[in-house]
Symmetry: C2
Subunit: 252 residues, 2 copies
């Protein structure tokens, strides 16, 4: 992101574009059934990864690989297993630093992992197994990374809101008043618009497209109400949690 | 895939579903500009990977990881760098074997790689760089794997067609007559339907979805005519190439 582009509009555009990514990822994950052995810590025994499920192993190893390629130099990206990641082997790119340095200490991926694996997955994938554990795990990484990026984008949302009206936020920040901050960050009408839009995206992107212009009414690859629920129960509340955590450190 | 499901209809359903995946992958890749350093063999120097571009390095390493998770046990999957892949560490899944064993010797991923990196990419991504080389490469893997799976699915298409009418194919197979086989496998009307459908999918999935029911006429995340061209110039011809190669070995 270039500095010139960091405005309330650019932040909003990014959030809207990320909705498409999240819906695509869920639709792709739904191609496979649950494949529960991939989440079972005793299903595989991989040297050096005892106690890891196949999905944990693949996510850890993928993050290691992507770290060498510089993924986590981008302040929009957050690892699920950030400890002991190797350094980037790629010449460093000059990402513009728009966030307060305290942003680096905020990573709620443990909560996102738990939400995704234990609560969200069973809501939108079929039961059963088809043996495609590697592809399932690759698809899980896409979902996890898309959700993580969207939720941690709360840092940018908070920063742009703070810059827009610092005096509105400073008293609550100094008082460490989380409830007051949460109130300042909550716009029910906006949240309802987002909810309706992601539900519609699930309908548009998850329909069966054919040339007869026959609408696949009621038959979607991922239930639109699940996408709506994902945003209402998890994505928007967790984004606001990130915003509050960021703002609490904004004057440090 | 269960044996019971291997019919002309199940094969067609899979091909249609894979169109959605391909369009989603292209739309996601188009979020990033070309990021040409990722394809430049002198941009990075990674120990043990001299002469590899960042994308080659990431694809090789991802395939190694996915091989340990059993990805290539599935006869629908083909590696881009199949030499010296490690064996799977996952209990083997009993994929039903519907293909002739000669299928294992067919892998045209070199052609697919060349087509994707050198011809397709510049048609649908913007010029320039944004530093997201790792994410770009991850997105390239998704595209490459989706295209590879779709094109090599020609093995299943050929098998189901052969089973349906072995006598139509046997003379051309015994005569090793590629042209005659290609003619038997070509249905211009079906190909035109596929072309129009993928173009429409690019419009539906690549539109800006909003709540006003305003159509984003003419503004798509990936130009639908590029998706149409991808199928006409590459996906369908390469699928038929796979079918011909498979049928030539079908009576061995």
């Amino acid at each position: 992101m270039k500095k010139a582009e960091f405005t309330l509009d650019s932040v909003r555009d990014s959030l809207i574009r990320q909705e498409d990514t999240i819906v695509f990822c869920l639709i792709e994950r739904a191609k496979y059934p649950l494949n529960s052995p991939a989440y079972n810590q005793s299903y595989v025994s991989i040297p050096g990864f005892s106690g890891s499920s196949l999905v944990e192993y693949i996510v850890k190893q993928t993050e290691t690989l992507q770290a060498t390629a510089g993924r986590y130099e981008n302040p929009e990206e957050h690892a699920f297993f950030p400890d002991n990641l190797p350094r980037s082997l790629v010449p460093s790119y000059n990402y513009s630093q728009v966030l307060h340095t305290a942003a680096n200490s905020i990573n709620i991926n443990k909560m996102i992992w738990d939400m995704y694996c234990n609560q969200l997955l069973p809501l939108f994938v079929a039961e059963g197994e088809d043996g495609n554990y590697a592809s399932t795990a690759a698809s899980d990484i896409d979902c996890l990374q898309a959700l993580s990026r969207r939720i941690h984008y709360g840092k940018f949302v908070a920063e742009v809101k703070f810059r827009d009206a610092p005096r509105d936020y400073e008293p609550a920040i100094r008082a460490k008043d989380k409830d007051a901050l949460m109130k300042l960050l909550t716009f029910e009408k906006v949240e309802e618009t987002v909810r309706r839009r992601v539900e519609k995206k699930a309908m548009v992107f998850g329909q069966e497209v054919n040339l007869d212009n026959v609408n696949s009414k009621g038959k979607y690859k991922v239930d639109p109400s699940v996408v709506s629920r994902l945003y209402v129960e998890w994505v928007m509340p967790l984004t606001k949690l990130v915003q509050v955590e960021y703002l609490l450190r904004r004057l440090d």
